[in-house]
Symmetry: C2
Subunit: 164 residues, 2 copies
Protein backbone atom coordinates (compact mmCIF):
# COMPACT_ATOMS: atom_id res chain seq x y z
CA UNK A 1 0.00 0.00 0.00
CA UNK A 2 2.88 2.30 0.75
CA UNK A 3 4.04 2.12 -2.82
CA UNK A 4 0.65 2.97 -4.16
CA UNK A 5 0.42 5.78 -1.68
CA UNK A 6 3.79 7.25 -2.55
CA UNK A 7 2.13 10.12 -4.24
CA UNK A 8 -0.58 10.52 -1.69
CA UNK A 9 -1.06 13.67 0.29
CA UNK A 10 1.24 13.78 3.25
CA UNK A 11 -0.95 15.51 5.69
CA UNK A 12 -4.42 14.85 4.55
CA UNK A 13 -5.72 11.73 6.14
CA UNK A 14 -7.10 14.21 8.53
CA UNK A 15 -10.75 13.67 8.97
CA UNK A 16 -11.08 9.94 9.22
CA UNK A 17 -12.02 9.06 12.73
CA UNK A 18 -9.69 6.33 13.84
CA UNK A 19 -9.43 5.01 17.34
CA UNK A 20 -5.93 5.29 18.79
CA UNK A 21 -4.65 5.00 22.29
CA UNK A 22 -2.83 8.30 22.42
CA UNK A 23 -4.66 11.55 22.44
CA UNK A 24 -3.45 15.02 21.61
CA UNK A 25 -5.39 18.20 21.54
CA UNK A 26 -4.86 20.01 18.27
CA UNK A 27 -2.68 23.08 18.20
CA UNK A 28 -5.12 25.87 17.51
CA UNK A 29 -2.29 28.38 17.63
CA UNK A 30 -0.92 27.09 14.37
CA UNK A 31 -1.56 29.38 11.41
CA UNK A 32 -1.59 28.54 7.72
CA UNK A 33 1.99 28.84 6.50
CA UNK A 34 2.68 31.92 4.44
CA UNK A 35 3.92 31.45 0.93
CA UNK A 36 3.38 27.70 0.74
CA UNK A 37 2.23 28.08 -2.88
CA UNK A 38 5.83 29.04 -3.64
CA UNK A 39 7.21 25.95 -1.92
CA UNK A 40 8.42 22.82 -3.67
CA UNK A 41 5.56 20.87 -5.21
CA UNK A 42 5.99 17.33 -3.92
CA UNK A 43 3.19 15.53 -5.73
CA UNK A 44 -0.51 15.56 -6.45
CA UNK A 45 -3.23 13.02 -5.77
CA UNK A 46 -6.97 13.02 -6.40
CA UNK A 47 -9.43 11.38 -4.03
CA UNK A 48 -12.42 10.90 -6.32
CA UNK A 49 -16.05 10.18 -5.63
CA UNK A 50 -15.30 6.50 -6.16
CA UNK A 51 -13.19 6.50 -3.01
CA UNK A 52 -14.60 5.57 0.38
CA UNK A 53 -12.54 8.51 1.66
CA UNK A 54 -14.31 11.04 -0.54
CA UNK A 55 -16.62 12.40 2.15
CA UNK A 56 -13.67 12.86 4.46
CA UNK A 57 -10.88 14.03 2.19
CA UNK A 58 -12.23 14.18 -1.35
CA UNK A 59 -10.44 16.56 -3.68
CA UNK A 60 -7.27 17.26 -5.57
CA UNK A 61 -4.42 17.29 -3.08
CA UNK A 62 -1.45 19.38 -4.13
CA UNK A 63 1.30 18.73 -1.60
CA UNK A 64 4.09 21.23 -0.95
CA UNK A 65 7.05 21.15 1.43
CA UNK A 66 9.17 23.96 2.81
CA UNK A 67 12.94 24.17 2.37
CA UNK A 68 13.71 22.50 5.70
CA UNK A 69 11.51 19.53 4.94
CA UNK A 70 12.69 19.25 1.37
CA UNK A 71 16.17 18.28 2.51
CA UNK A 72 14.90 15.20 4.31
CA UNK A 73 12.35 14.39 1.63
CA UNK A 74 15.14 14.22 -0.94
CA UNK A 75 17.81 12.58 1.19
CA UNK A 76 15.64 10.20 3.17
CA UNK A 77 17.12 11.62 6.35
CA UNK A 78 15.33 12.71 9.48
CA UNK A 79 12.88 15.57 9.16
CA UNK A 80 14.31 18.44 11.20
CA UNK A 81 12.15 20.50 13.47
CA UNK A 82 10.61 23.23 11.37
CA UNK A 83 9.82 20.91 8.48
CA UNK A 84 6.35 21.66 7.14
CA UNK A 85 4.19 19.87 4.61
CA UNK A 86 1.19 21.75 3.29
CA UNK A 87 -1.53 20.04 1.34
CA UNK A 88 -3.57 22.45 -0.72
CA UNK A 89 -6.85 20.67 -1.36
CA UNK A 90 -8.93 21.80 -4.31
CA UNK A 91 -12.21 20.96 -5.89
CA UNK A 92 -11.93 19.17 -9.21
CA UNK A 93 -14.08 18.67 -12.26
CA UNK A 94 -14.25 15.64 -14.50
CA UNK A 95 -15.01 16.23 -18.16
CA UNK A 96 -14.66 13.48 -20.75
CA UNK A 97 -12.11 11.62 -18.71
CA UNK A 98 -10.02 14.65 -17.79
CA UNK A 99 -9.72 15.83 -14.20
CA UNK A 100 -9.00 19.53 -13.81
CA UNK A 101 -8.37 21.67 -10.79
CA UNK A 102 -10.94 23.93 -9.19
CA UNK A 103 -11.18 26.20 -6.18
CA UNK A 104 -9.63 25.61 -2.81
CA UNK A 105 -11.44 23.36 -0.32
CA UNK A 106 -8.92 23.54 2.48
CA UNK A 107 -5.32 23.62 3.56
CA UNK A 108 -3.77 21.01 5.82
CA UNK A 109 -0.37 21.04 7.41
CA UNK A 110 1.91 18.80 9.35
CA UNK A 111 4.63 20.67 11.25
CA UNK A 112 7.63 18.92 12.78
CA UNK A 113 8.35 19.92 16.37
CA UNK A 114 9.42 17.04 18.53
CA UNK A 115 9.13 19.03 21.75
CA UNK A 116 5.64 20.35 21.12
CA UNK A 117 4.08 17.26 19.60
CA UNK A 118 5.52 14.14 21.25
CA UNK A 119 2.14 12.38 21.31
CA UNK A 120 1.70 12.53 17.55
CA UNK A 121 5.05 11.39 16.28
CA UNK A 122 6.66 14.80 16.60
CA UNK A 123 4.27 16.34 14.09
CA UNK A 124 1.60 18.95 14.73
CA UNK A 125 -1.47 18.84 12.51
CA UNK A 126 -4.12 21.33 11.50
CA UNK A 127 -6.56 21.90 8.67
CA UNK A 128 -8.21 25.18 7.72
CA UNK A 129 -11.47 25.02 5.83
CA UNK A 130 -11.16 26.95 2.61
CA UNK A 131 -7.67 27.89 3.74
CA UNK A 132 -9.28 30.43 6.07
CA UNK A 133 -7.05 31.07 9.13
CA UNK A 134 -10.17 31.66 11.21
CA UNK A 135 -11.53 28.22 10.41
CA UNK A 136 -9.26 25.59 11.95
CA UNK A 137 -10.94 22.21 11.68
CA UNK A 138 -8.88 19.83 13.78
CA UNK A 139 -9.75 19.60 17.45
CA UNK A 140 -8.00 16.34 18.26
CA UNK A 141 -4.97 15.65 16.13
CA UNK A 142 -4.53 12.13 17.46
CA UNK A 143 -7.88 10.86 16.29
CA UNK A 144 -8.45 13.14 13.32
CA UNK A 145 -4.94 13.04 11.84
CA UNK A 146 -2.34 10.88 13.46
CA UNK A 147 -4.37 7.68 13.39
CA UNK A 148 -4.11 7.47 9.64
CA UNK A 149 -0.44 8.43 9.68
CA UNK A 150 0.55 5.81 12.25
CA UNK A 151 1.07 3.01 9.68
CA UNK A 152 3.68 5.29 8.07
CA UNK A 153 5.85 5.14 11.20
CA UNK A 154 8.80 3.68 9.29
CA UNK A 155 8.50 6.62 6.92
CA UNK A 156 8.48 9.21 9.72
CA UNK A 157 4.66 9.31 9.52
CA UNK A 158 4.86 10.93 6.08
CA UNK A 159 2.95 9.51 3.12
CA UNK A 160 4.77 11.40 0.38
CA UNK A 161 8.00 10.27 -1.21
CA UNK A 162 10.29 12.29 -3.39
CA UNK A 163 9.40 11.99 -7.07
CA UNK A 164 12.17 13.66 -9.10
CA UNK B 1 -14.59 24.70 -22.43
CA UNK B 2 -12.07 27.28 -21.38
CA UNK B 3 -13.46 27.26 -17.88
CA UNK B 4 -13.27 23.52 -17.63
CA UNK B 5 -9.79 23.64 -19.03
CA UNK B 6 -8.58 26.31 -16.63
CA UNK B 7 -6.58 23.71 -14.83
CA UNK B 8 -5.47 21.92 -17.92
CA UNK B 9 -1.86 21.59 -18.86
CA UNK B 10 -0.63 24.64 -20.65
CA UNK B 11 1.72 23.02 -23.05
CA UNK B 12 0.52 19.54 -23.43
CA UNK B 13 -1.94 19.34 -26.23
CA UNK B 14 1.12 18.38 -28.09
CA UNK B 15 0.58 15.19 -29.90
CA UNK B 16 -2.85 15.55 -31.36
CA UNK B 17 -2.53 15.93 -35.09
CA UNK B 18 -4.60 18.89 -36.10
CA UNK B 19 -4.63 20.41 -39.51
CA UNK B 20 -3.67 24.07 -39.52
CA UNK B 21 -2.63 26.39 -42.28
CA UNK B 22 0.57 27.60 -40.70
CA UNK B 23 3.54 25.35 -40.39
CA UNK B 24 6.56 25.68 -38.18
CA UNK B 25 9.44 23.34 -37.78
CA UNK B 26 10.04 22.56 -34.15
CA UNK B 27 13.00 24.07 -32.38
CA UNK B 28 15.26 21.11 -31.76
CA UNK B 29 17.81 23.40 -30.13
CA UNK B 30 15.55 23.88 -27.16
CA UNK B 31 16.65 22.03 -24.05
CA UNK B 32 14.61 20.98 -21.04
CA UNK B 33 14.65 23.91 -18.63
CA UNK B 34 16.84 23.43 -15.62
CA UNK B 35 15.26 23.60 -12.22
CA UNK B 36 11.66 23.63 -13.38
CA UNK B 37 10.70 21.38 -10.48
CA UNK B 38 11.52 24.36 -8.27
CA UNK B 39 9.28 26.70 -10.26
CA UNK B 40 5.82 27.80 -9.27
CA UNK B 41 3.31 24.96 -9.46
CA UNK B 42 0.46 26.33 -11.56
CA UNK B 43 -1.99 23.44 -11.47
CA UNK B 44 -2.39 19.74 -12.08
CA UNK B 45 -4.67 17.79 -14.41
CA UNK B 46 -5.07 14.11 -15.14
CA UNK B 47 -5.90 12.80 -18.60
CA UNK B 48 -7.30 9.38 -17.75
CA UNK B 49 -7.91 6.29 -19.84
CA UNK B 50 -11.51 7.43 -20.24
CA UNK B 51 -10.33 10.38 -22.32
CA UNK B 52 -10.09 10.26 -26.10
CA UNK B 53 -6.80 12.11 -25.61
CA UNK B 54 -5.27 9.36 -23.49
CA UNK B 55 -3.19 7.81 -26.24
CA UNK B 56 -1.81 11.22 -27.14
CA UNK B 57 -1.36 12.94 -23.80
CA UNK B 58 -2.51 10.56 -21.08
CA UNK B 59 -0.98 11.12 -17.67
CA UNK B 60 -0.83 13.39 -14.68
CA UNK B 61 0.21 16.84 -15.90
CA UNK B 62 1.95 18.95 -13.30
CA UNK B 63 2.34 22.41 -14.79
CA UNK B 64 5.04 24.82 -13.64
CA UNK B 65 5.92 28.35 -14.76
CA UNK B 66 9.12 30.32 -14.41
CA UNK B 67 9.35 33.67 -12.63
CA UNK B 68 8.97 35.68 -15.84
CA UNK B 69 5.82 33.86 -16.84
CA UNK B 70 4.39 33.92 -13.34
CA UNK B 71 4.03 37.69 -13.46
CA UNK B 72 1.71 37.56 -16.46
CA UNK B 73 -0.09 34.47 -15.19
CA UNK B 74 -1.00 36.32 -12.00
CA UNK B 75 -1.67 39.73 -13.49
CA UNK B 76 -3.33 38.70 -16.70
CA UNK B 77 -0.83 40.86 -18.59
CA UNK B 78 1.18 39.96 -21.64
CA UNK B 79 3.63 37.09 -21.33
CA UNK B 80 7.08 38.61 -21.76
CA UNK B 81 9.70 36.94 -23.89
CA UNK B 82 11.46 34.41 -21.71
CA UNK B 83 8.27 33.16 -20.14
CA UNK B 84 8.33 29.37 -19.91
CA UNK B 85 5.67 26.86 -18.96
CA UNK B 86 6.85 23.32 -18.24
CA UNK B 87 4.44 20.45 -17.97
CA UNK B 88 5.88 17.52 -16.11
CA UNK B 89 3.84 14.53 -17.23
CA UNK B 90 3.78 11.49 -14.97
CA UNK B 91 2.29 8.06 -14.97
CA UNK B 92 -0.52 7.60 -12.47
CA UNK B 93 -2.13 4.73 -10.67
CA UNK B 94 -5.76 4.37 -9.67
CA UNK B 95 -6.51 2.43 -6.52
CA UNK B 96 -9.96 2.39 -4.95
CA UNK B 97 -10.88 5.72 -6.45
CA UNK B 98 -7.62 7.48 -5.60
CA UNK B 99 -5.25 8.68 -8.31
CA UNK B 100 -1.62 8.88 -7.27
CA UNK B 101 1.47 10.05 -9.08
CA UNK B 102 4.01 7.76 -10.68
CA UNK B 103 7.15 8.09 -12.72
CA UNK B 104 7.84 10.69 -15.38
CA UNK B 105 6.50 10.12 -18.89
CA UNK B 106 7.75 13.32 -20.45
CA UNK B 107 8.38 17.00 -20.14
CA UNK B 108 6.77 19.57 -22.42
CA UNK B 109 7.51 23.25 -22.65
CA UNK B 110 6.19 26.35 -24.28
CA UNK B 111 8.72 29.17 -24.45
CA UNK B 112 7.76 32.75 -25.31
CA UNK B 113 9.97 34.37 -27.94
CA UNK B 114 8.05 36.51 -30.38
CA UNK B 115 11.03 36.90 -32.72
CA UNK B 116 11.88 33.23 -32.97
CA UNK B 117 8.38 31.78 -33.10
CA UNK B 118 6.08 34.13 -35.02
CA UNK B 119 4.30 31.26 -36.78
CA UNK B 120 3.13 29.67 -33.54
CA UNK B 121 1.78 32.62 -31.63
CA UNK B 122 5.16 33.66 -30.30
CA UNK B 123 5.63 30.43 -28.44
CA UNK B 124 8.16 27.69 -29.10
CA UNK B 125 7.16 24.14 -28.23
CA UNK B 126 9.02 20.96 -27.47
CA UNK B 127 8.46 17.69 -25.62
CA UNK B 128 11.12 15.32 -24.35
CA UNK B 129 10.16 11.71 -23.83
CA UNK B 130 10.89 10.69 -20.27
CA UNK B 131 12.34 14.16 -19.81
CA UNK B 132 15.43 12.97 -21.65
CA UNK B 133 17.20 15.89 -23.40
CA UNK B 134 18.31 13.50 -26.13
CA UNK B 135 14.74 12.53 -26.95
CA UNK B 136 12.92 15.56 -28.37
CA UNK B 137 9.57 14.48 -29.72
CA UNK B 138 8.16 17.42 -31.61
CA UNK B 139 9.17 17.78 -35.24
CA UNK B 140 6.46 20.18 -36.34
CA UNK B 141 5.23 22.50 -33.62
CA UNK B 142 2.40 23.88 -35.73
CA UNK B 143 0.64 20.58 -36.22
CA UNK B 144 1.75 18.76 -33.10
CA UNK B 145 1.32 21.61 -30.61
CA UNK B 146 -0.03 24.90 -31.81
CA UNK B 147 -3.15 23.51 -33.43
CA UNK B 148 -4.63 22.62 -30.06
CA UNK B 149 -3.53 25.93 -28.56
CA UNK B 150 -5.05 28.07 -31.31
CA UNK B 151 -8.52 28.22 -29.72
CA UNK B 152 -6.84 29.78 -26.70
CA UNK B 153 -5.79 32.84 -28.75
CA UNK B 154 -7.68 35.24 -26.48
CA UNK B 155 -5.74 33.74 -23.59
CA UNK B 156 -2.35 34.18 -25.29
CA UNK B 157 -2.52 30.51 -26.38
CA UNK B 158 -2.18 29.38 -22.78
CA UNK B 159 -4.62 26.91 -21.24
CA UNK B 160 -3.69 27.46 -17.62
CA UNK B 161 -5.14 30.17 -15.45
CA UNK B 162 -3.88 31.33 -12.10
CA UNK B 163 -5.47 29.42 -9.25
CA UNK B 164 -4.45 31.11 -5.98
Amino acid sequence: MTGKLRGFAAALAVVAIVGVAATAVADTKLAPPKGYRQWFHVNTAIVTKDSSMFDAIGGMHNVYVNAIGLKALKSGGTYANGSVFASDVHEFSLDNGVYTEGNRKGVAVMVKDTKKYPATGGWGFQVWLGGDPTKPFVTDAATQCFGCHTPQKDHQYVFSSYIP
